[in-house]
């Protein structure tokens, strides 16, 4: 990539900015990880009790209104998750622009901070200061309310979405189903924003988005059923606990149908998140900006916050269901228990392992986030009838087939567990080989561009 230059009036400014960037780049992830690891597990009541008892030296039962303390802890954990979503969303916005620029042989944002790292803060501030316009003739109340539905749908998902062994706000019995359900807030928000804008393009986009999301919920639901059948639970943590740390213990490899289901889910999530090649709802070249054409300022920022925070959700859901979640290779449930120690408040090693599990989860998720970004900047958009065809004629039948196959497969696996082990290894080996071939082909394609890269800056 071409080098980028800074031209600041005073040398001190540059140093300051570099420092700020580095500080932010280190501090923000550390802050997020700390928030997640220390605050979120505290929602667990025994853990919080133990913390108050052993670290603060109080007996919670003697307090006035103990349950409000628990409620406050819950609230704090919720705030932590929202902060996490907002900050990752912001960083993803910068990251996607940099990746897009790299793909397009551009430089991308590079003015605010080193490599433009603080660009997302600048953008957020700019958008907050812009006028919050409501078009005349728009249904002002619904127009104002619509973005909150969208944000609520995204935030509520995070409640049941794990990020580590004990890092989940609420390990619901209906976990993954809850995630599917609260996502429907987003549809309502989109529909409202499109209609209340009183613009034909907005309505067009909203209707496309709704048709798309409602349709793709079906294959997504079917694909989710495959790991659910394999784990025998809907709880997100239960799903992860049913998998293992090594790749061949992941659901993705344990069952050929699960691999298919992974791709069905991934495609459906792209569609539900309105990402290319399914970005029909905000198709710039057709619908201007789709359902949020008329939005500006703060509310516009909310849509984009959701769009990028959604990246994390796409990756995290797929990781949870198919890629072993936070499971650390070689660390079993017994290890977790022994590291935790006998005391009611866990020992240091347990907290350290939480960090590791968070790291593993984040790496897998971020890999999928990268894939989503690559796809977005590579593929054209499909047409609405093609999108519907793909959903109803291919993904839904394939989802059914995968589900039925899994039912049979579970019986076989119970009858002869060795079959599952062998399959896992075979599928894993096949995946490695396919990845290797893909990389080779990519190398070849790159080398086919015979001419040397031209320096754009001075030619």
């Amino acid at each position: 990539m071409a080098q980028f230059s800074f031209a600041f009036p005073k040398p001190g400014t540059k140093k300051l900015l570099v420092g700020a960037t580095l500080g932010a780049a280190l501090a923000i992830p550390a802050l997020l990880a700390g928030l997640l690891v220390f605050l979120v597990p505290m929602v667990n009541k025994p853990l919080l009790d133990a913390f108050i008892r052993e670290k603060l030296g109080h007996v919670p039962a003697t307090w006035v209104g103990t349950q409000w303390v628990y409620a406050a802890a819950l609230f704090l954990a919720g705030i932590a998750m929202f902060t996490f979503a907002a900050i990752t969303g912001g960083i993803f916005s910068w990251y996607e622009r940099r990746v897009a620029a790299r793909i397009q042989s551009r430089i991308g944002p590079n003015r605010v901070g080193v490599a433009g790292f603080l660009q997302w803060i600048a953008d957020a501030v700019k958008l907050l200061f812009k006028e919050d316009l409501v078009p005349g003739e728009a249904d002002a109340m619904l127009f104002r309310a619509a973005p909150y539905f969208v944000v609520a749908g995204m935030t509520l998902v995070l409640v049941a979405l794990p990020a580590g062994q004990a890092i989940v706000v609420a390990d619901l019995d209906v976990g993954i189903f809850y995630i599917l359900a609260v996502t429907s807030f987003i549809v309502v928000g989109i529909l409202l924003s499109g209609w209340s804008s009183n613009s034909k393009w907005s309505l067009f986009g909203a209707i496309r988005a709704t048709a798309q999301v409602v349709s793709y919920e079906v294959p997504a639901g079917l694909a989710i059923l495959v790991p659910v059948l394999m784990a025998g639970t809907l709880s997100t943590q239960g799903l992860i606990r049913a998998q293992g740390g090594w790749p061949w213990e992941w659901f993705f490899f344990r069952n050929p149908a699960a691999a298919v289901a992974f791709f069905i889910l991934f495609i459906s999530q792209l569609a539900e998140g309105n990402r290319t090649p399914f970005d029909l709802a905000e198709a710039e070249s057709e619908l201007v900006a789709g359902y949020f054409s008329e939005y500006s300022g703060f509310r516009f920022a909310l849509y984009f916050l959701v769009e990028w925070a959604n990246l994390w959700i796409i990756g995290a859901v797929a990781t949870t269901l198919f890629l072993g979640g936070w499971q650390i290779p070689g660390v079993s449930a017994q290890t977790w228990a022994s590291v935790r120690g006998a005391g009611s408040f866990p020992a240091f090693g347990w907290w350290a392992l939480q960090f590791v599990s968070l790291g593993i989860f984040a790496v897998k998720t971020l890999f999928l986030v990268n894939v989503v970004i690559w796809i977005r900047w590579t593929l054209p958009r499909i047409r609405i009838d093609q999108m519907m065809n793909l959903c109803w004629k291919y993904l839904v039948p394939a989802g059914f087939a995968a589900m039925l196959f899994t039912l049979v497969w579970q019986m076989v696996a119970t009858w002869a567990p060795i079959v599952e082990k062998i399959t896992a290894l075979v599928v894993f080996a096949a995946t490695v080989w396919v990845t290797w071939r893909f990389l080779q082909q990519t190398r070849k394609n790159v080398s086919l561009i015979a001419h040397e890269r031209v320096d754009l800056s001075n030619w």
Partner: protein, 379 residues
Amino acid sequence: MSKLVLRRLDRNNEEMLINFGPQHPSTHGVLNFLVETDGEVMRRAIPDIGYLHRSLEKIGEMVQYPGYMPYTDRIDYLAAMFANEGYAIAVERLLKIEVPKRAQYLRAISCELNRITSHLVSIGTMATDIGAVTPLVYALRERELLNDLLEALCGARLTYNYHRIGGVAFDMPEGWRDKVLAYLDRLDSSIQEWDRLISTNEIYRKRLGGVAVISRAQAIDYGLSGPNLRGSGVDWDLRRDVPYGAYPDFSFEVPVGCGWAGVVGDCYDRYYVRVLEMAQSSRIIRQALEKMPDGELTAKVSRKPKPEAGEVQSRIESARGELAYYLVSDGTERPYRLRARTGSFMAMGIIEDISPGLMVADLVALIASLDVVAPETDR
């Protein structure tokens, strides 16, 4: 919107009427389409032109013959060389001037380079209109390099004003020939990269293949020309069939649509004809650079030419189809009448009749595949 267009709408409430433009990301300039849709399917799209009308033909009657040359740049700012050349040839015919060989070669080179830049924009925006953003950037990257070359040749990146009555303005700068040859090498591999990236992309082929098919007969009836005509399978190219300038000296092929991704005459054919034409342009430029004769840059032309009364027409193969100038002289130093027949204007005419039954997303593909440029439509 103009009353004229409104009068043509017989509306019933089942359909939604949308103004597709004049401010719209994929109208390629200031165009408007009145789109009647029934859900995603269009009943029809009525083009509403004139937003970029600048009286260029009338201006032609006000200025002297050489003074009009910079105005021709504005007829089609993406392919200004052709507008230059067409006007120059028309006036030369009026004055009965023979253009020197070297100037003819330089005209061919500049025009073919311009054809490549124009087609790069066309296919790049086409990919963007279909939803892939990256290919546009690749196309523009290649075009920037080419613009550098054209800037070195004539001092401008967009409105070249390079051709003169009787020849061209400047000779090749030193070292320019090698830079062009180096660029053409790069272009050939870029086209391959382009094919891998987008032309063979399954989604792209599905989006364009079989969409908005213009049959051979329709294309001829509606007066389509250039790549749009050849996309419909008509083997017609003025450079070969009604040769002018230096073109008889070069050997090249004329790509014709043959249903690469579906039916002959669909959007993909029109798109891919352009991709192939870039390679042919490269071939022509190589030959021209190789055979470049020495000689004068311009013929002897007076500063204030006063042609005899009469009328002429010139036809050239522009990037957007046949560009024809019709000039009437009354013996003074200003034209009595100047008229430009442009490819985009003719292409706009077919949209209303092809659009019924297409989806809204297909309209975007149709407009992009016809490579309509607003200034050329309105002039």
